[in-house]
């Protein structure tokens, strides 16, 4: 089965700083991959490159059969992206926001579709309300609605739980599980281990610009995620110490 996301030898530099170093990453269709890493590890950078917002310095990227950056337009159709910024217009209503993005994605006659999505994210009653009156949790849910309006095969989420309280985060999780269960592929970055342990089917560790390890959820003991992550990081640090500065 060909992977729906395939990344080989990805290098990304900012000035002289090499953030991603010959990174390899591969995701099969239907997987829910949690990308774990501390702040500054390069999670957001990787996600920005995958979402076509940023170009790599080197490397091959293939998503849903199309190459980045050459075929970015086709890739964009297949992607839905949620970042920690809402990407919503405060002066527009929930309905109008979805209408706008739907138009951008070339949809037509999609009023019913908008209603379905609003129902899915639990905001149907607030469809006429302006987004700037929404709480952060509601905005995030609407943001997910925006991300899936064009029915993308792949969903990329960058720390979506940032700034949410427990209830809002739980609602988000239910929504994510619902969406993932429909056969979509999801890649989510996070440093919230307990939360992510219940959502993902696979956990990858991003550390010092590379993806070092990958573990399927079913192979991980209960509550063992943090320990797993820590062990990988310690291992790499130890190796780095032995070999001297890389």
């Amino acid at each position: 089965m060909t992977a729906i996301i395939e990344v080989r030898n990805l290098i990304k530099r900012f000035g002289h700083k090499q953030v991603l170093r010959q990174l390899n990453f591969s995701v099969q269709q239907g997987e829910f991959v949690a990308l774990l890493g501390s702040n500054g590890a390069g999670k957001t950078t990787l996600l920005r490159i995958l979402s076509s917002l940023s170009k790599p310095n080197y490397g091959e990227i293939q998503i849903a059969g199309y190459f980045l950056p050459g075929q970015s337009a086709q890739v964009r159709k297949k992607l839905g992206v949620v970042s920690h910024l809402p990407l919503l217009y405060g002066d527009l209503s929930a309905e109008e926001n979805l209408k706008f993005y739907g138009k951008l994605y070339g949809l037509s006659d999609f009023q019913n579709h908008i209603e379905e999505i609003l129902k899915l994210v639990g905001l149907l009653k607030r469809k006429k309300d302006l987004v700037r009156t929404f709480s952060r949790g509601m905005q995030q849910r609407l943001a997910i609605g925006r991300a899936i309006i064009h029915d993308p095969e792949v969903l990329l989420l960058d720390e979506p739980h940032t700034g949410l309280d427990q209830d809002a985060a739980n609602m988000l999780d239910t929504l994510l599980q619902e969406i993932a269960s429909r056969g979509r592929t999801v890649v989510m970055t996070s440093h919230d281990f307990p939360r992510v342990a219940n959502l993902a089917t696979r956990f990858d560790v991003l550390y010092k610009g590379k993806i070092h390890a990958s573990k399927l959820a079913k192979d991980l003991p209960q509550h063992g995620l943090l320990a797993y992550y820590q062990s990988i990081v310690d291992e790499i640090d130890a190796e780095g110490g032995k070999q001297g500065a890389t």
Binding site: F14, G15, H16, K17, A245, T246
Partner: protein, 231 residues
Amino acid sequence: MKKLTTLRILDIVTLVALLGATAMVFFYAPIERVMGAVQKVFYFHVAAGWVGMLSFLFAAIAGIIYLIKKSKIWDLVGVAAVEIGIIFIFITIVTGSIWARPIWNTWWTWDPRLTTVTIMELVYVAYLMLRQGIDDPERRSRFGAVYAIVGFLSVPLTFFSIRIFRTIHPVVIGGSDPSAVGTFDMTATMFQTMMVSIVVFSILFIDLVWHRIRLGKLANQVEELKFNIQD
């Protein structure tokens, strides 16, 4: 990175050329009948002006190439051209002022050429301020390139617009209005001195830009080394 021999030679050539041109201005070119000795400012004024405008073109072209090739050296060339250009234009403005004072009894005239050249200076400075306000190095280079192109296109248009007014700037070359105060006919020796000045200033420009580019490369190396240590 040792100084290239070529650069060393260029430094010497530049120095000699400058001395030679100055000598020409003072000893070879005649004293102008009406304006007197102050007219001699004209040679360096025109030379600096010409070279300053060319450096703008330089920066715009470097910008275009950078946007196409995305190679950092072209960004460096653009910055160097702008920084050195600022100096040359400043010289143009100041020498223009020095020339104007005894002749028109004013430090400033709002005529097309002087005005346009000052606007160009403002665009140059805006370019540097734009770069300074951006932290991401790649974005900084990209935006600089875009603004250099936009700025370069707008300045001739500005000149053209202002020109449609009457001018009091002496139209020394190709001018047909003898009543414009300060106009004078150039003798052959004056013409030669002017051409030599232009050539010498061009050499000076290349020398300075080269030094600036070299400085930029060294600065980049230092940055890189810093990062390698931090890692």
